[in-house]
């Protein structure tokens, strides 16, 4: 293998590691935002049903 192949390998791997890590962070942020929205929906539903139960009694 000539030295250019090593050079290319080093640069390609570095690009892959940094872009892969960025993708991991962005997907993680998306997942946390989705979970947060889901929790807020659940909380709102739970609060509404508790209020209805109280007013019915």
């Amino acid at each position: 293998m000539n030295s250019i192949a090593f050079l290319k390998a080093a640069y390609i791997i570095t690009w892959l590691v940094y872009l892969g890590y960025l993708a991991r962070i962005l997907l993680g942020m998306k997942k946390v935002a989705a979970e947060r929205a889901e929790l807020e929906r659940t909380t709102a539903r739970g609060t509404a049903s508790a209020t209805m139960k109280r007013s019915a009694s």
Partner: protein
Amino acid sequence: MKKIATSSILLTVALLGITSYLALAIAPTEATMGDVQRIFYYHVPSAWVAGVCFFINFLASVWYLIKRSPGSDAIAAASAEVGVIFCSVVLITGPIWARPVWGIWWTWDARLTTTLVLWLIYVSYLMLRRFAAGGQSQVMAAVLGIFGFVDVPIVYMSIRWFRTQHPSPVMGGGENSGLAPAMLHVFLFNLAAFTVLGLFFVWLRYKMELAQQQLESAHAQAALKGVA
């Protein structure tokens, strides 16, 4: 969210693109090693950013032990993870550079060994944060972050203290050290660009860590109310 994602990808690709162009097309070819020496323009800035990240982790860990603020814990977690990523690049590009130049992928000299130990320390730090049970994991991680940082100056000084296969310092290494001006300009630009990239990753990861912490406390509050 879409805006953050698009601008993050654009910034990362732009920084990597410009640094690659400068290193591969603008920097002159080194006389002894030839083109493979261009790995230097990614290898050294990555090592620098890893050191900066571990220093941020050290400061945030000290601050967490003093104030117990969730923000400093989030900074510590973010900087350790980004530091491990940059240190991984150092440990990957180093052997790829070593093989054509030294004829071997790896040798247990002081610089390489202390760098591997550094990487292992911060991987342990991340595993401790991820898997330790109980409320003391953040305190234990902060203590590990403080003691783990001791290895950073050892890594830096190892090529000054010991005779190593790894080359002597290129900058500030005595009379015969230094870079040709054309190489130095590219190197300094890449150093600055990688620092921006690393700090940007820390900021993004910090935002994610804070959001995760807030989600966990929201879950706990909802469970207390008996909603979720």
